[in-house]
């Protein structure tokens, strides 16, 4: 009999690899923070799902999709008002989520990860979605590279940058959804941001940056699970702290 934690760890490692890869592109595109706020809009979705008694991830996925499309539309205008609008939408969605989820325990789950035992369906979906994220980014990497270097050159190379950016944001949102289960809405973005930021300090070439970012994300999850089980800590925050240690080490190396 395979222990339930085996499924949880396997899924977390796949999700981490996807997050590391998404993060490295998000860092280069400088959309790290815009992407991070996307995760906050999952909270009201989780709240509604708890009220209607459906799978929380279905609720989270629904509002994430809506949030992604709103961000995509707002980013078209680079005015201050649209940035402010993004800020207002996402902080108010945290507030709305907190109002919808009226049990403190469930609110903590939503913010920091939890939600009981992983079902077989969720496990399969998670693995497939992680591989989908990685494959999509590897296929689109050439277009993304030119696009993040210069919008003009991308257009001159016949790349539809608007659609490319939408696909990227959707992949980003899917990665957040993958992290929601074990990291929660507040920390789901951190496994995207932190390993990529650490990897960036260690690497000089694109190939090394992408692989190292995935590796650090996977190591953070692996070590995080181990440390959390040895010292009986919450898994999500432990994983994020391990990733943060990698980041601090990378800073130390950079200053040498």
């Amino acid at each position: 009999m395979i222990p339930p934690s085996f499924y949880a760890i396997t899924l977390a490692i796949f999700a981490a690899a996807a997050a590391g890869l998404v993060g490295s592109f998000a860092l280069m595109k400088r959309t790290v923070l815009a992407g991070d706020v996307i995760s906050h809009i999952a909270i009201p979705g989780l709240g509604l799902a708890l009220i209607w008694n459906i799978n929380p991830l279905v609720g989270g996925a629904t509002t994430l999709l809506i949030g992604t499309i709103i961000i995509w539309q707002l980013e078209k205008k680079t005015s201050l008002s649209s940035e402010a609008a993004i800020g207002v939408i996402f902080s108010s969605s945290v507030a709305l989520g907190a109002l919808l989820i009226n049990s403190n325990e469930e609110l903590i789950d939503a913010l920091f990860g939890g939600f009981g035992i992983l079902s077989y369906g969720e496990f399969t979906f998670g693995i497939v979605a992680s591989m989908f994220v990685i494959a999509t980014l590897l296929i689109l990497r050439h277009k993304l590279i030119i696009g993040l270097f210069s919008e003009d050159l991308a257009v001159a190379t016949k790349i539809n940058t608007r659609i490319l950016h939408l696909v990227f944001l959707l992949v980003f949102a899917l990665t957040v959804l993958l992290g929601l289960r074990f990291l929660g809405a507040l920390l789901a973005g951190s496994l995207i941001i932190i390993p990529a930021s650490a990897a960036r300090q260690f690497s000089h070439t694109l190939g090394m940056f992408l692989s190292l970012s995935m590796l650090i994300a996977v190591l953070s999850v692996g070590i995080g699970f181990a440390v959390a089980s040895i010292y009986s800590l919450s898994t999500g925050p432990t994983i994020v702290m391990v990733a943060a240690v990698f980041f601090i080490l990378s800073l130390a190396r950079k200053t040498k």
Binding site: I145, L148, F149, D152, L153, A156, K158, H204, L206, F209
Partner: protein, 240 residues
């Protein structure tokens, strides 16, 4: 008189951006192998014109490219993010993969602009102004364009580097038999290399060969009053 086919024919081109007329009724044509230099003061719509020709901006009027034209575009100085771990090779390979060119084209493009593979592996944010400009030209050359659109080739390069870029441009025109459209602020370049000149100030101020299109009156109209460009004009008459 030569009668080469028109590579590009533009008639009554107008572009409105945010309710303002960025360009009104611009007309010109360029024949195969020619070098058209676009001059004009800041904000006169030079870059807008290039971007419109590339189909990036909505416009009215006629833009007719010869069906056999393949366009290479070298944009104005890109503020390359120093922290981006992307090298010239990464960019060239990405373009080659997207447009399905063979890998051998990458080396050929690098060779044409005189960049070594070692320099091509350095992150673009760490290149010198001249190397960076060469990298952009290599990117434009990949895919063997027939016409090169060049926005301020020397905007961020020191004087000697500037000369090298102009020489490179000239050599590439011979090697690839390129037609070129170049935005320049440098009138000496106009006199030395342009076969046609287009003076732009939201409208067509002049168009023709440098000799017939440019005189002191014209430059005064274009730039408004006595101007340092007269020195270039003066220098030119002495040196050539």
């Amino acid at each position: 008189m030569r009668h080469m086919p028109l590579v590009l024919d533009v008639q009554n081109l107008s572009v409105a951006l945010g309710g303002h007329h960025a360009l009104s009724n611009v007309s010109f044509g360029i024949e195969e192998g020619e070098t058209l230099v676009i001059i004009g003061p800041n904000g006169s719509g030079k870059t807008v014109l290039l971007r419109t020709l590339l189909g990036m901006l909505p416009s009215t009027g006629k833009i007719e490219w010869n069906p056999s034209a393949r366009i290479g575009y070298v944009p104005q100085k890109i503020e390359a993010d120093r922290h981006l771990p992307i090298s010239t090779i990464n960019l060239l390979r990405a373009k080659a993969k997207i447009l399905k060119f063979p890998d051998s084209d990458i080396l050929h493009a690098l060779h044409s602009v005189g960049l070594t593979t070692r320099i091509a592996q350095i992150p673009v944010g760490h290149l010198s102004g001249g190397e960076f400009q060469r990298a952009l030209i290599a990117f434009a050359l990949l895919g063997k364009p027939t016409i090169l659109l060049f926005d301020e080739p020397t905007a961020s390069i020191d004087k000697p580097g500037e000369e090298q870029i102009y020489e490179l441009l000239h050599r590439l025109q011979d090697e690839y038999r390129l037609t070129a459209i170049v935005i320049s602020h440098d009138l000496s370049f106009v006199y030395r290399h342009a076969t046609k000149v287009l003076c732009l100030n939201k409208v067509n101020v002049c168009f023709g060969t440098p000799k017939e299109a440019l005189d002191i009156h014209m430059l005064e109209t274009l730039y408004g009053g006595p101007h340092k460009y007269f020195h270039h004009l003066h220098d030119h008459t002495h040196h050539s």
